[in-house]
Symmetry: C2
Subunit: 141 residues, 2 copies
DNA sequence: TTTCTTATTTGTAATTATTACAATTTCTTT
DNA sequence: AAAGAAATTGTAATAATTACAAATAAGAAA
């Protein structure tokens, strides 16, 4: 499906900027930050403003077309994959990896009973990724 | 146990500032931010610097005496409860509530198999808390 | 097509959280 | 008390985010 229609499905009026940003999100599953997206699209859209990237991502989240990850304390990251899945943040390289979610967690949605209206579920792990771990072993020698 | 000894247990050399900050964390289970802690202790310790609050919380986390929550995109929050438990962030009032964790998640620690060294597990929920929900209902009328 | 209206984008400035770092103070040890 | 180390402080720098008004683009009506 074209990104144009993809956006329409989420009731988002497509524009050059919005399509480019969503395209980037869909093609780069690295959970990019605002800055990464902005930097990457500067060539393609030389007039692009960082404010637009902020506005657009906010719009995507509001329309359910993307989710915001607050796992990294330094900045917020975005993910076009809105299916429930877990994330692993490497404390060394700050890369964010996808992991299967604990499906048990979905039951939490029924926690509504307690009066808490759960709209989002996040499962975050933090530690050292295999790539950094082996790197660190090498440096020990 | 006195906070003095409590800190020593975590191999943290006690000081007026560190004791005051840990006391605050232990007595206020509201997952305060740096700013909240700083503001609250300004009266007690008039010379307190915000940098000290930053340094101290960093130290606490390094020594395992507190955990850092990155659930709120606006700023980082701290929790003296280092037992595995889940958190609920109300999108309206930004309060953070404690919830029992899904114990299944602990198994993730053995995810080491895949080469990922999991040091921290976080379970976050976001939505509307009962207090805000009833408030919003009232305002509808 | 031209005009009017609305939505989107842009750029700048303001705000806020966090970090860097040197100077000062406090604590320990002698 | 003096010397050395550790902790604290204050200021300045950095970086992320937001506010907002002006400019541009898009769409509807004439």
């Amino acid at each position: 499906m074209r990104t144009y229609d993809y956006l329409l499905n989420y009731d988002i009026k497509p524009s050059v900027q919005r399509i480019a940003i969503m395209d980037y999100l869909l093609e780069h599953r690295t959970h990019p930050s605002i800055d990464e997206i902005y930097m990457a699209l500067c060539d393609e859209i030389p007039t692009l403003s960082k404010t637009t990237v902020y506005n657009t991502l906010k719009l995507f989240v509001e329309h359910g077309a993307a989710q915001m990850l607050t796992i990294d304390e330094r900045n917020v990251n975005y993910d076009a994959d809105i299916q429930l899945h877990a994330h692993f943040l490497c404390k060394k390289c700050n890369r964010i990896y996808d992991f299967p979610a604990n499906r048990e967690e979905e039951k939490v949605h029924s926690m509504n009973l307690n009066g808490f209206d759960v709209e989002e579920i996040h499962q975050y792990y933090k530690g050292i990724c295999p790539s950094c771990a082996s790197q660190m072993k090498k440096e020990e020698n």
